[in-house]
Subunit: 110 residues, 2 copies
Amino acid sequence: MPRASTTSDAFNAIAEPRRRDILSLLVAHERPVNDIVASLGLPQPSVSKHLRVLHEVGLVDVRRGGRQMFYRTNAAAIRPLHEWTRTFERYWQHQLARIKERAEANERKS
Amino acid sequence: MPRASTTSDAFNAIAEPRRRDILSLLVAHERPVNDIVASLGLPQPSVSKHLRVLHEVGLVDVRRGGRQMFYRTNAAAIRPLHEWTRTFERYWQHQLARIKERAEANERKS
DNA sequence: TTGACATATGCCTATATAGGAATATTATTC
DNA sequence: GAATAATATTCCTATATAGGCATATGTCAA
């Protein structure tokens, strides 16, 4: 079996770096496709394809305005990812605390 | 071109749901492979392969103990993912605030 | 050393890509 | 309606999977 499809969930969709770039670019304001193309220096068809994936998993919203399509990041869809990573927070804090402890112990020894 | 390799970075590594399960399982305490196999009900070779990917991107650490291999989640490696998702936090808060506003406006109207 | 246990690796297959180029679709303006 | 602009889709290819299964490697115990 191959990997799960990029459109199967947000985790798979954001694995592609360009798509993360797009999400960051579209988070503050909606933008037409051409803006994204110009900002990121990617071929237009490539951008359209990435937007399709992002839209399919709900990471971006679209609005038509004349012949332009205005895309915008749906930040709420990123929240579950944030929550998942957050479940590890106390553990890396533990790690950092232990590192700090050791450093201070070494400090006292020398 | 195919997708970037699962071992190219943490984003690609955690796209696989089973690997996220493994990370959650190994976060509190180290565990031998057989424990993971039993806990998740996956075939042993499958678990070993997932662990290999996770180890290659630094998401787990290993320690040998006799004939067992004790794996443990390296929580610090998840932090960058947390930080990336965090950059969107203020935007979903905006979204929620706007939804709340509208709800209250409708409340006053009725 | 032989066996048993624990884990890792190899081989196989079907499949979903990302990128590139060309072209199709949709909307606007003259 | 024809030309133009903005975006989407299609066709192509090479490639890295995940899963299943068999087997290799490594470690201990008797």
